[in-house]
Symmetry: C2
Subunit: 255 residues, 2 copies
């Protein structure tokens, strides 16, 4: 299985602390060594890094750990191959354009017998069940809405689509269009919302602490979603099986 | 105006020498400082790096200069903004998927009054004339071919499309689907084909030489296409205005 990390914020925020802990699971505290990737929205643009090595010792992961890329929406993934060979085209997250925006998707899990017909214009490049599911989701979003829908409408459609895919296996996923982060849990996703007053956090996977109060402004709001909690001293909440959580401006939306 | 660099090879090849010279034009030997980008095909997958700073001192460009990413098809671009603001979404190259393959496109030039209707499913995310032209090219490719066309058919269609766009301004572009590199010249594109016996080359933009004989096997073939020649001692050839050159397996195809 794989692991997921997502971040949604109300101001461009540096993900290096969370990514440092997360990347340890790709070879040191975990065995997710069959590739990794991370996508950062910057306005409408996306920086997309994928690598088929281990995130724990990848030169590109070193860059991410050292170069403060500030973003309002980030999705990262470390892969342990279940379907598809170890090659760049199979590394998550995947990126496609819909309605003049980039959409980024990463999946943790395994889908059995889910190969719906792709009759519109999104086709997988690699071999994974995950990319096939992403292409189908975009196809169905595009078919379901004549114009560009708002967040509530998108969420309604995504909830229906997730319910159709989820019975085929394990379907934890993160999806973002640069504005909203959707997180769907099938077995394991946890989240935290950080806001004023900010405190200290200590990583579970590495001997590293940070005092967010030193790095934030009082109005900052940051939500982090991850397969297993990243820090030892914060109140992470688990999503229930079948739950689709929606994050915008660093806050969970009760939609 | 911007500058373009492309490489097409018959074996995965390291572009660091060429990129080092090229990146000097983004701030040192040239004023192309409004962003840059590079895309590397690796099999069907793509590594895509974009940055809105100057390539000459970007940490991501440092990574590219230091980390040997071997690829059979590379497209790079350094930008001097003519249309669209300086932001990540406006940085070339652009990437889209068509027929289950990624397509990468970069443009040097300026198109006036070229905003054809995009009635299919490719929409620009940024504001540039270039991305609009790329979306239109993919739309027209998709409409022109019921199945996946071969290289000759693709080239015929691309030649017609380029002829329809070119009258609107300056339209030097590079396009690749990971198999073939197409290079269209409007004002300035030069190329070289390197093959056995390999010799030494010296960069025009930096005091740096390389002896390709030390780094290659006898069967290697590499074609490099660039706005202005990168080395001082090799026989670069200029493409004629209106010419669409096709490179595959490191060799120009006479199609």
């Amino acid at each position: 299985m794989c692991q997921l990390l997502g971040m949604n914020c109300n101001t461009p925020t540096d993900i290096r602390f969370s990514f440092s802990g997360f990347a340890q699971r790709a070879g040191r505290t975990g065995d997710h060594t069959d590739g990794w990737g991370i996508a950062f929205f910057e306005g409408l643009g996306v920086r997309h890094f994928v690598d088929h090595g281990r995130a724990v010792d990848s030169p590109i992961a070193d860059l991410i750990r050292e170069y403060p890329i500030r973003s309002e929406n980030v999705i990262a993934h470390i892969r342990k191959a279940t379907q598809g060979t170890v090659q760049l085209a199979n590394c998550h997250p995947f990126v496609r354009e819909l309605w003049g925006r980039y959409w980024v998707f990463a999946h943790n899990g395994d889908l059995k017998d889910f190969r719906p017909r792709l009759h519109a214009h999104y086709r997988p490049v690699g071999q994974t069940d995950s990319e096939h599911a992403f292409c189908w989701i975009l196809q169905e979003l595009w078919k379901s809405h004549a114009g560009v829908p708002d967040r509530q409408e998108l969420t309604r459609t995504l909830r229906e689509l997730a319910q159709r895919i989820a019975p085929h296996g394990t379907f934890n996923f993160l999806l973002s269009n640069g504005d909203t982060l959707w997180a769907h849990a099938s077995t394991a996703l946890h989240y935290i919302e950080r806001r004023h007053p900010f405190g200290k956090a200590h990583l579970s996977d590495d001997d590293m602490s940070v005092d967010f109060a030193q790095q934030t402004a009082p109005d900052d709001q940051v939500a982090v979603v991850v397969t297993a909690p990243l820090t030892t001293n914060e109140p992470w909440q688990a999503l229930a099986p079948g739950e689709l959580a929606v994050f915008a401006k660093g806050t969970r939306q009760r939609a």
